[in-house]
């Protein structure tokens, strides 16, 4: 310690010089790093593509909506928070569609098509309800809790994930505005 105190100015200068050299070296390396974004169900990554049939039997593919902001909501008809947040999602759909695409993925492996149909009818939901019968998309997105909601920008990059619920209308509106604003910025 005494030696360090004796040579403190010299040691300090040495530390700063080594730090600058390291920053220079790493900046060069980072500049040449592959900037491409991977597909993964995580904020900052490209949303993995999937294909599912909706309640009407139409095939819905995520990649069909490239270029538009998307909200994906994973839910089940027996899940209380999902039931509570559905009217808010329906209101937002009426306000923002077609500027924002709304996809609701039902975890049909732990639900039933008849219960889903009844739920959609009772709540008067207009957005596409996709049936994840094999839980393939749930596994792909590593869904651990219902509801889980993904907000994806127009470049297909996941901007935010909200695990659990119910989402309030305010929260939903703020997140949708955020992905819309980013869309406007990239269009300009």
């Amino acid at each position: 310690m005494d030696i360090f105190k004796k040579y403190q100015p010299q040691v300090s200068i040495m530390i700063v010089i080594l730090s600058i050299i390291w920053i220079g070296f790493t900046s060069y390396e980072s500049f040449h790093r592959d900037p491409s974004i991977l597909n993964s169900p995580q904020v900052g990554f490209l949303a993995p593509n999937f294909e599912l049939k909706d309640l009407q039997g139409n095939t819905q593919k995520l990649s069909n909506y490239t270029g538009k902001p998307i909200m994906i909501n994973f839910w089940a008809s027996w899940c209380k928070p999902c039931q509570v947040e559905m009217p808010a999602i329906q209101n937002s759909f009426q306000e923002h569609y077609p500027d924002i695409i709304f996809l609701s993925v039902n975890s049909t492996k732990q639900d039933s098509i008849s219960a889903v149909s009844e739920f959609v009818k009772n709540k008067q939901l207009d957005f596409p309800v996709l049936l994840d019968i094999q839980n393939a998309v749930g596994s792909l997105y590593r869904i651990q809790a219902l509801p889980t909601t993904y907000f994806i920008n127009s470049k297909g990059v996941i901007q935010e994930i909200i695990i659990g619920g119910p989402m309030s209308e305010t929260l939903l509106e703020i997140r949708l505005q955020n992905i819309l604003e980013e869309n406007d910025v990239s269009n300009n």
Partner: protein, 246 residues
């Protein structure tokens, strides 16, 4: 990623538990050691608790101010328990300002208070980086090193573990300093240590959005903090030796 705990309608992320543990251990550490810095100042811990409790309130207020129109449309959301309706960074900054005001009001030395909090902050940061590992955030770049962990499809540097280990080292150094009473400028020395750590480790960060032309902004900020802290330490040493000579 660690699991999410489902209790009825609640989906509790384990990272939240780890953060709470970190706060608890951090506070315990401050409580154990603050008397070495501040003598007969019983209000110190009360001020810390006030600042701590104000974090969620300030976080929510900051968030409301940012999205005022949306909250005016749905005023009930002001009291929503949803954690997504908080702005934690603004909350922490405003709470730090509140703490400074409270310390000033109680005539407690701010420098001694910051030094007294250093052990708690370093202990909390160990838990914070473990919570980031639990969330799958702050991950490293892809690697072929044998200790790489598979996250988001590729083996990556376990950056959160690097940081947690580094903060553990810093915490044990601080604990040793407290035992041996080498407590002068503890916080400034802590800033030197974490600046070096961020300068070195930020290169390995895989989710870094703050890179301009290859230059990591965190490294540049770390370098600025390092230079200022080292200057402060050297100037103080010079002043002390001049005083001693006189």
């Amino acid at each position: 990623m660690f699991p999410i705990i489902n209790i009825g309608p609640l989906a509790i992320q384990s990272s939240g538990f780890i953060i709470i543990l970190g706060i608890w251990f951090g506070i315990s550490s401050i409580e154990k050691n603050y008397h070495k810095f501040i003598l007969s100042q019983k209000n110190f811990m009360t001020d810390i608790y006030w600042a701590l409790f104000s974090i969620p309130i300030f976080s929510r207020i900051s968030y409301i101010i940012q999205y005022l129109n949306d909250f005016l449309d749905h005023p009930k959301s002001i009291f929503s328990p949803n954690l997504s309706l908080f702005d934690p960074l603004s909350g922490v900054i405003l709470s730090a300002i509140l703490l400074l005001i409270l310390l000033k009001k109680d005539k407690i030395s701010i420098e001694s208070s910051i030094n007294a909090m250093t052990s708690g902050i370093s202990l909390f940061l160990i838990f914070y980086f473990i919570s980031l590992l639990a969330n799958g955030e702050y991950y490293g770049i892809s690697t072929t090193v044998p200790w790489g962990i598979v996250l988001w499809g590729v083996p990556r540097h376990p950056l959160q573990i690097y940081y947690a280990i580094a903060f553990m080292g810093i915490y044990f150094w601080i604990r040793n300093s407290l035992r041996t009473n080498l407590i002068n400028d503890l916080f400034t020395k802590f800033i030197v240590a974490i600046s070096i750590m961020f300068i070195f480790l930020d290169f390995f960060r895989g989710d870094n959005q703050n890179i301009v032309g290859g230059i990591h902004i965190i490294q540049v900020l770390g370098l600025i903090a390092l230079i200022i802290s080292l200057l402060k330490l050297n100037l103080k040493q010079k002043t002390n030796s001049t005083d001693y000579a006189e």
